[in-house]
Symmetry: C2
Subunit: 332 residues, 2 copies
């Protein structure tokens, strides 16, 4: 038997337990070319929220109703009808939100054995790493000496951006909510940390942290922090728009007061998704793998125990209830 979380209704605003159901299905015999994987971990991510809506505006197609949800997962092959994999091989794939996955062998990525933990491949050596690396260095064209502002800097992507920006000689300002998260970001090496929950306009706090302005903004939240970044951006600043978690659960228009500075400061604003850079994955793995192997990158994820905790892990992304990436440990 395999168990999987299915979406049973589309959330209005913030998702609730009523939108999800854990369903059990018998394992069918494998077809030729298929493998079965016992997942050890799967990942829950902000981008899944728009997938729960109808419509075609998400990065990828909406989740179907009454079908298992999907997402990044890591596990070991337990059954195989493909010569690409043998039982015991470590793989990553995209059939998360479940304890056992049946998939075509070509949809699984072979992972090296060795001391690196399963979790790393869902984290700094997975999509998170691609997002931070290509977003910062390619989309935002960040270079040594730049003043870089990173929002949601205690989050999965943000905390990695802070570290790799420091590793490349940049001045880094991070924002996070609450003392604990701010301390975490400071511990990552950020030069200045802003608690966005502290009183007062965010733009004033950002200006105080960056008296010489910003050259790069790595945007994980949109809204007020994006507007503030436009307000203090230097001439020719580059904005990499990675996520707008603050905007996913609302249909209300977002107000901007500083948009005019797109012209006066010649801002360049680009949206991106890590998969845009899939063809250059090995470049990212080479650099990030080196930094990880040298102990130069810390990663702090929140692990939720058991398949049952999937929705709770997902909700925590929106309530500010965890630091770093949220993973669900389903076995192994």
């Amino acid at each position: 038997m395999s168990r999987a979380w299915t979406l049973v209704s589309r959330p209005k605003g913030s998702p609730t337990m009523e939108n999800f159901a854990l369903r059990e299905t018998p394992d069918q015999p494998l077809n030729d070319g298929e493998i079965r994987v016992a997942n050890s971990f799967f990942s829950v991510d902000p981008y899944m929220r728009p997938r729960m809506d109808e419509g075609e505006d998400s990065y990828i197609a909406p989740f179907a109703l009454n079908a298992p949800m999907t997402g990044a997962a890591v596990g070991r092959v337990v059954e195989t009808r493909s010569d690409r994999f043998k039982v015991g091989d470590r793989v990553s794939h995209f059939l998360g939100w479940r304890d056992r996955a049946t998939l075509r062998a070509e949809d699984a990525l072979s992972l090296p054995d060795g001391e690196l933990k399963d979790e790393s491949f869902l984290d700094v050596l997975g999509a998170i790493g691609m997002t931070a690396y290509f977003g910062l260095f390619d989309v935002a064209e960040a270079k040594p000496g730049d003043v870089v502002f990173v929002s949601a800097a205690a989050g999965a992507v943000g905390s990695l951006v802070v570290q790799i920006a420091k590793l490349r000689g940049m001045t880094v300002i991070g924002s996070a909510g609450g003392t604990e998260k701010c301390d975490f970001v400071r511990g990552l090496g950020a030069d200045h940390v802003i608690d966005y929950k502290s009183p007062g306009p965010f733009e004033d706090k950002l200006r105080a942290a960056a008296p010489d302005g910003l050259d790069v903004y790595f945007d994980n939240v949109g809204g007020e922090q994006l507007d503030a970044a436009m307000g203090i951006a230097n001439r020719d600043a580059r904005f990499a728009i990675c996520g707008m978690i603050g905007m996913y659960n609302s249909d209300a228009p977002i107000g901007f007061s500083n948009l005019f500075r797109v012209i006066s400061k010649r801002l360049q604003i680009r949206g991106f998704i890590n998969s845009d850079f899939m063809a250059r994955r090995s470049e990212c793995l080479a650099q990030m793998g080196y930094w990880v192997s040298k102990g130069l990158i810390q990663s702090r994820y929140t692990t939720f125990e058991g398949l049952e905790s999937g929705p709770e892990a997902f909700f925590s992304l929106f309530s500010g209830g965890n630091t770093g990436k949220a993973l669900v440990h389903v076995g192994g």
Copy 2:
């Protein structure tokens, strides 16, 4: 004697006659290296509105109070203490809003004699031409086959963008306000014209005009039309942000509902100003000059007669009272 329009108070919201005064000053003898120019035309432009505010967010410094305002002008040299120019030479310079200008010779640009009219050098062969040319081809990276949306398409820049986009094999959608302006834009060769004053959400009208989406948006207005363009933009669309005339007279935040698509569609949004491309002016003049000489570019400007009409000409930019660039004819 020379007469010049001075700014006597900073407008709150929309400017009024009370903000301006026409002042007369005696001509001082020229210093060595100076010339005196009798202006034939000067230009009034939307970018002058933020120059009337205090603060450092305009492209260029704010106008000083109680001093003559400035801007593009064309005229003939009437007095010279420089060997760069002789009496009768045609020049362009930046001391508009007045009938006679005294300036250093190196601040004047020599213009060819010949059949081209004085007005052209304030229009398709001046800053307007640079803005349209570099905005479309460089900032927005527009190429043959692209679907291009141009807002304020009856305006000075917009009407030129429509034409050069057609000359380069693009599908062009223009927006303008009212039947007369829309007919004008259609006459320029636009494939679809949207009357933004007609009832209904602008995004619906844009979607109907561009059923296959947009590859390029040349933005002259910001606000609702910018949001709508984000709403129907194709993957990897490029936005050249040239002006936000609808946003200059208001401090209220502008609401956006489609900003999330910056990520999902990997939009690239870049602000620019024509002077960014000053070093490549000859490239633009070569191409635009060719098109003008072949009669392939129409230009329709509104001429206001007499120096006294300066403020009225300027107000007309914001009331939608004219089509194309607004010029003030001061003599010659």
